[in-house]
Symmetry: C2
Subunit: 481 residues, 2 copies
């Protein structure tokens, strides 16, 4: 945060005139420190959000975001939708709405879920201020300080501050090319049960995971849902990207496999319409939903009516599926451009995932490269990424990995961005070799998590049929750097 400056305008009335001058010194942390709640000691910033201020500079190619490319949404459609709202329901669109969201919005949301085969009861839907709020409300409803919560390793970097802010005890289970390792999850559940504990929920992004880009295999999905039902453990399925598939066969959402008893579903319009409208949702069993609605009342009364009216116009035209199809075409090309650029510009010691959809590639460098340090150098080259440590609650794992977003920029910018990152990576590797005298590099596994999402899963998937995410390791010659 920039240094605060004293306001140049003197207050109109000043009954305690000494105070304003004392303003600067009074702003010390010490004055307020012992007023802070316990939770603020463990609250962490999500790395992506910190990056936003830096990466807002136009000269920076930020592969650190998680944004849809909103320039693909036709401005004339925006204008037409808003004009219709102005003509037909201006007063309503500017007014408060129900805490759980408008009934028509819930029905439209069920339509989005139907596109992935789900058929929830609209009454089980709560409309939220983005998917982020859904995660927050679920955690608020379920988690007391010290309660166990399980998530993937790496996990969505934006979930880390939520779990921290409710002082959850977070257990991360490694994900490989087929998603979270369900065997290890089961072993953890056993251990917790042995201690008389039950996790409040298992948080998962099973499809085109953020940050790793991997997709949970069909066999593991079924086993995960079985586990949840056998052990009566809730699963929070966060599925922002499910409709953004560029190749391969869809996997059934966990919610579909479970039927909604133990799987709480989180969705968002951020990736298929606009993040700026802040519109997401959760589907939860009524007792949980009721508590979430109480939490939402307290938090922000209701989700933006204007946003809901805008979204309803979008869905009313029934052209939304073709818009999503167009996004898939655009993002597929960008993913391919990034994969090609990685091949071209990243050194042979690097590995990365090859997602079938979504927005992210997860790249892992030799273990002696710390991507948080690397980011500072990358910013010097006007390029940004999310350091891997942001996806781990301990902040100390994943330090040689990075999350790369391919949806936010066109192919030329992506190629240039990857070229710039490749340059600083290569410089670091050269420096390492110079210092250590090594020319044969150490295996990249040394400091990495035992299970790299870039590596293929154990071969438990033959029966489920070919949903192993192909490994994309560098092979052969290095075309340039």
């Amino acid at each position: 945060m920039p240094e605060p400056q004293d306001s140049p305008t003197p207050p109109v009335e000043r009954s305690l005139p000494a105070h304003r001058r004392a303003h600067q010194t009074a702003r010390d942390l010490e004055r307020y420190a012992d007023l802070f709640a316990e939770r603020t000691r463990v609250m962490r910033s999500s790395a992506m959000r910190d990056l936003m201020a830096i990466t807002a500079r136009p000269e920076v190619i930020s592969l650190a975001g998680g944004q849809a490319d909103t320039s693909t949404f036709p401005p004339q459609t925006f204008a037409a939708q808003m004009t219709r709202i102005a003509q037909e329901s201006s007063a309503e669109a500017l007014q408060y709405g129900p805490t759980e969201g408008f009934a028509a919005m819930k029905v439209a949301i069920c339509g989005v879920m139907a596109a992935e085969g789900m058929a929830p009861d609209p009454e089980d839907v709560i409309v939220t201020t983005g998917g982020q709020q859904a995660i927050d409300l679920i955690t608020k409803t379920l988690v007391d300080p010290g309660d166990p919560v399980i998530c993937e390793a790496p996990t969505y970097p934006g979930a880390v501050p939520v779990f921290s802010s409710y002082q959850a005890e977070v257990h991360q289970i490694e994900a490989d090319g087929q998603g979270i390792k369900v065997d290890e999850l089961e072993a953890l559940l056993d251990r917790l049960e042995g201690d008389g504990r039950r996790p409040k929920f298992i948080y998962s992004v099973p499809t085109f995971q953020n940050p790793a880009g991997v997709t949970l295999s069909g066999q593991r999905r079924r086993r995960l849902v079985e586990l949840a039902r056998e052990r009566e453990v809730l699963v929070v399925e966060d599925n922002p990207y499910g409709l953004l598939r560029y190749e391969g066969e869809p996997q059934p959402p966990l919610y579909l496999l479970d039927g909604g008893d133990y799987v709480i579903y989180v969705g968002t319009l951020s990736k298929i319409l606009s993040p700026g409208i802040r519109l997401g949702w959760a589907v939860a069993p009524p007792p949980v939903m009721e508590k979430m609605a109480l939490g939402k009342q307290a938090t922000d009364l209701c989700t933006s009516t204007l946003a809901q009216y805008f979204a309803l116009e979008y869905f009313s035209e029934d052209r939304w599926r073709s818009y999503v199809d167009s996004l898939c075409d655009i993002y597929r090309s960008r993913r391919d451009a990034m994969l090609e650029a990685l091949e071209r510009h990243f050194p042979e010691q690097a590995t990365w995932t090859r997602p079938e959809g979504g927005m992210f590639i997860w790249a892992t460098l030799p273990s002696y490269i710390d991507t948080s340090d690397l980011l500072a150098k990358a910013l010097g080259e006007n390029v940004a990424f999310v350091p891997g440590a942001a996806a781990y609650v301990d902040g100390q794992t994943g330090t040689s990995s990075m999350r790369l977003n391919f949806s936010g920029f066109d192919e030329d910018r992506i190629r240039e961005g990857i070229r710039r990152i490749g340059k600083v990576v290569s410089e670091q590797i050269d420096l390492y070799q110079t210092i250590t005298g090594e020319h044969k590099l150490p295996e990249p596994k040394a400091r990495q998590p035992a299970s790299d999402p870039a590596a293929p899963g154990v071969a438990d998937e033959e029966a489920a049929g070919g949903d192993v995410v192909p490994l994309r390791r560098r092979e052969g010659t290095q075309p340039g750097k």
Copy 2:
């Protein structure tokens, strides 16, 4: 919440076919009960929100809301602003924004505050998803379970669920016609200090208070700020209505008197533009703001970009002041219509406040009338209000009072609404008299808080000059009922 119905559409894929049929029975509260966080046991619903579903029926005249009349905002202005956004910044308006809000939005917010004489540093502003989220983030930042928080009695009904959800120990200090009784506040601070405790903050709506409509006098304002500074206690000044003054001289905001060291300011565009865009803000000292921004990251990433762009268009035209002036004219007439209707239709045992601005009148009936029971009868007459108990954390005080909103409907509807409420009130009084045989009614003070906001304050205000809120008790003949 309506009974959930099983979806008529069979799921596309069913690996665990027994589950869907078990869906109904599985929805019992028992299954999930022991998963809920401790805070959910004390989380209460805000009465206004519960009422919304009922009062959404068009035949109901709801004086229970707290809404601006958004039909006063010209649809052509709505359309023009949105068309300009579509033409000039469609992609940006649909994209994520910074957690703290856009710099231009913070500057515009400082312009709104300047209209009440305040001159905060834009860097100290955080843009929030409505004023409600500001209250939530402040509480999240400061309050651990059991921490003391002080507020007015009665207090904003929407603050009650916030304080509950963070398990605060809430102390309510009575307000009279001049606002919170600062002497009693000081005595409470002494008692807490004697126990080695310090409240995390004092929450106040000093101007045209929600729900009582009263305004804190100038003398008490200065004393409150002095107290905060002497004792190093934070004050949260919630000021949604300050610009909606229909008569009398403005009082300086607490923030202005303090200079921003101990007073955290909460504002909103809900009352001067639109509640449906969910746009509010807080101004806090940097150390507190930093923690609030962390909380906001976790909660919803950022405030709606679309809402901010819409608001920026509103402020860019510099016509916003004249729009607010027009609101004042409209609401002044409605307030007058409600006061006249109360005079006409409410029995002589009733008292009510006579606000100089804002949106609410607080009416108090004989103590043997419970307004929660009365509401059920009022709904039978298609009229609604907020029962007074909603403004008390114990839910057991204020039971013979009600909050009446005069901003949401035109004069005819207001008159008709008050007529209907007056009818059920009179029926209750007649019933009481029939049962008890009393025709001379008991004094209304029996079950009321010792200090009724409808009563004048102790005469500590002479020096400050005439800012005692005039008492509006029934006098003389009863024109009708």
